[in-house]
Symmetry: D2
Subunit: 336 residues, 4 copies
């Protein structure tokens, strides 16, 4: 059994991860951390897990965590996460990091978007980006994997193959994303107060969302030039799900079948990406680790539409998929 | 024109009240208060009113408010409200008080449920309870009216006529109420965080909700003996609306038609109560000052079902209806 | 491997059942039926199962089904179901019947509520009611089990132990239930059109819901006399979940701890019932086979509050739990 | 008093129109039509209007309607509408047509998108498009006005001024729109069944929505060349509201302030368009006739975001605004 710990286990992604790990035949959950000193039980923090897991959340140092766990899932805020990750790796743990700390390769871009110097810059370019569909071989056996952001997952899975195949231009890409509210985390704020966001619809952080450089970094790799996407996230009155509508210009005239063909070829052996003819919706992938994607050509523009569950394929499911690869377990374990 | 002010103008009931008062041909809104010192504009606090009302919210004393307004709508918390009301009345204002401070007649019961001594106990039994359908004559021309709670409005309108007519017993009444989340106010809290209360359903404050003594006081008046209702509120994942299902025992065997007959007779001339044969739903009264009510007899029990919009008939609409009566204006002004 | 078939596999309960059975290590899904002649694929009918199950839905006779399956899950409408069940049993299949056909023992009560003569009345009183917490021994090894209704499951689990222990009176029980809309099935109707039931709340079928006799039958068994419950279902604007607030009169004065004690004793070894001190909510059991229940005493009345996922513990999860018992498999298989 | 009739008065737009017209001091509602022969009352069809309007819906010919009404609001399906409109105009009525029949100028484009020959092509190019902010003078005093589509209203109000001012290019405009479900009408269909579209999010009719030519026609007028917009509508799990995020390329480098300046100048005297610095949301305009719009520049692209209530500014409110202009009444009558 692989002993697993979760750092910062009070949020929604930790809760989803716990539900998944409880189904994982190779995992024993041995430590959960929080900054609270009251040692709350799992049932107090996540009542949906009452009776499922008899553990308390503790304020543990990385060293203490390392003494109890082989693999650590880090759900800490950025910067705090990198500090803990360094210690955990030094102590011999493997880590799946949910924070943004090791997603970007360039400390300068990190500092620009996250307004803080990266505490462990040398490790940034060496850490694999945990999107198995694109970076499986570098994830396999790794000691540290940077779990991707939810928006980047949906956007990159739709666009990277088209850039890689040279079907669409890297210039002028528009990514219009819509997300359920669980993506905003568990801390109550006016914008997420039920009577404010129920029956409501808004764009937010237009042109300023921190997932932007992450998308550009990966798409740039596939395009071989900088992309500079226009990224607009929207808040949708539902719990979970992301739908991303991306608009790009074909390099040469193309039809929907050709675009779908490129996507199908790329993902034909993928266990968790379904390229479909129909227009996808978020409900069909809700609670699952699947991404569904389709494409259309409208007035000469390539329109791709991709959906994921932001808490599963966009966070905790991807983490388990990465974990399975890191330990050379069947990739779908605990995910079907 | 009657100059109107709102104390504590940042919440949902104040916003609804502003929308109604802007349609009132006899009202000029002249002052809005807040404890914030930043003098925010109406548009900053209530963006839905952008361009409709050019006022700032100010931290004003009751004396300052009295110098600008003839009638004051008080949306302050309990106890704080009574303190302000005394001063306003002394300065010659009329007041519609949204707080619970003048709803109860008995300072001891108030202290027991609100955990504070009432600052103005003498005025409690003299203040009319602002449910025009039952207390119209005492409201007409009054200087102070206690605007009812939202749950009591829906429950009392269904049950008081049946107790008055001696159709149902005052013993063993069960009031099972369901409310949209706007009833919980505008302050973000974990229980009202969108991902917590969306797609969720819960009872709360079972047997302990502060609207209980208010219901018992009014029903007791109509029953001529104490009632002691069992009151169970539930939180429903929607913005607005209350549906109350009440269960009572008939004094003698009765059928639904007889019960409906009693309700129809009581409310035949009421502009805002519709006694209907069909089962009511909250959407049909949403955004309006109407209450709809019906009755059934099941296994010998009388089942009444009543619906209101908690922010209108359950708060701001009732306040305007009371205001109209206080100033002897047509009762439906600004409410249709 | 046990070969499993589903009759009437187009609805929500069938979809949930498929998701559960795909996780069941002892089950192979071998046949799915529909009255449609077009042989639609699983993916066409249930897009959430794209790529998970390569079967078509066929218009098969019971004999054809029996040749392919050992155990059949029947999701047919009442009356149609009994006709098929007789044939399947005769052909050697075991059956879990989701319809109401074998829940009631008395053909007369069935005819009164379902407005049709029962086609197989002799089998009615011999068929175990598939609530393992109360009827486990009769379910174990059975060839036919009547899967309970969703409302009865939530109501009975809360009330039966209190009647069995003689804590509450069988007279005057009020069951006020609230359900998400998936309980209404998959057929579009005006009442379930999104803009009609979103942001809305209504009671329906007051005193006339067909789950009433089922509740009375089981509660009557535990009370040793007839109960005649007042049952009021309500439609809540959410997908899934039932919360039932039941009101009963104690035989002798009682407090909440005593009531909770009775429930705890009854369910102490149950894998899927959690007796809790807190007020439960539907979200904590959503997507699971758990029932959570608590109790309060208010103004002398016993108030119990119980929650389930109507599609899992109220339908497909219960069916798998029954299946596990029928085949003497660990009861929680595929359900955690 | 102007006698008003509504053709096809059973849908959501008719219901909203009735609520608005009941507040209009110059209007008397005299006739409502339906194809049903049962003469249902307003209360049966629109229970929210119980007690507000004592009329039945009748199956009337245009001639019969014309004998009772001065102005007719047509809520009929396309093609059926044009047939009725011709007769009504001939009989001396004025008409506000909610259908698409007189929005387009070119019968060929109409036939291409609506798959039917237009029955009254000569009148098409002469009928003003009922967006007062752009076509006020041609609406004033008109006998027939084509009420705009909901999506075009939100899109055109954001983009037309930028094209008119030469700020953005007419080429490559992307319009990504999100709408609440009431826009789909009142007829139950699988896609709008509550458990299907609640907690769900999808694009639909990608590149094929019939509002596309209407948007291109008006934008083309302002651009002086054809636009060929890429229009993608999405279905959002809420009742009402449209948010449109539009992406266009500036002709010369531009910043957000300059874009906002163009919008402010265009709409400075408009009673129902609010150009704001903040990101708008649909809830702030819900239930109102307001459009809010803002602009940003991201990676060199102009991003505009506009919101309306699809049933008010996108349908019935616009109709009343047009009516007011047609009869030379104050434009905001019944709309504030």
């Amino acid at each position: 059994m692989i002993r697993a710990a979760i750092l910062g286990a009070t949020g929604y992604t930790a809760r989803e991860l716990l539900h998944l790990l409880l189904r994982h035949p190779e995992v024993e959950i041995t430590a959960l951390t929080t900054r609270q000193e009251t040692r709350p039980s799992v049932a107090e923090i996540h009542p949906s897990l009452r009776g499922r897991l008899d553990l308390v959340l503790e304020n543990l140092t990385p060293t203490e965590v390392a003494s109890r766990a082989d693999c650590v899932f880090g759900c800490l805020p950025h910067a705090a996460s990198a500090a803990a990750v360094s210690e955990l790796l030094a102590a011999g743990c493997r880590v799946v990091d949910f924070s943004a700390d090791y997603r970007l390769n360039d400390p300068k871009i990190y500092a620009q978007w996250y307004k803080v110097e990266h505490p462990d810059p040398a490790r940034m370019p060496k850490t694999p980006y945990g999107l198995p569909e694109l970076f499986r071989e570098s994830i396999r056996g790794a000691n540290l994997v940077a779990n991707p952001g939810c928006y980047p997952t949906a956007a990159i899975l739709a666009l990277a193959p088209l850039l890689e195949a040279g079907v669409v231009s890297p210039r002028g890409i528009v990514i219009d994303s819509k997300s359920g509210v669980s993506g905003a985390g568990r801390t109550p704020k006016p914008a997420f107060h039920f009577p404010e966001c129920n029956e409501n619809l808004a764009a937010y952080a237009v042109g300023q969302h921190r997932h932007t450089p992450e998308i550009d970094q990966v798409l740039g790799t596939y395009a071989d030039v900088e992309t500079n996407v226009v990224f607009t996230p929207h808040l949708i009155p539902m719990d979970r799900g992301i739908l991303t509508t991306a608009y790009s210009d074909p390099v040469e005239e193309v039809d929907a079948d050709a675009v779908l063909g490129v996507l199908r070829k790329k993902y034909q052996d993928e266990p968790f990406v379904r390229v479909i003819d129909e227009l996808p919706n978020t409900k069909n992938v809700s609670g699952t680790n699947f991404c569904e994607v389709t494409a259309r050509v409208v007035q000469g523009k390539v329109v791709t539409i991709s959906v994921i569950d932001n808490l599963i394929k966009g966070a905790s499911g991807a983490a388990v998929q990465n974990f399975n690869l890191m330990y050379d377990l069947p990739e779908t374990t605990a995910l079907l």
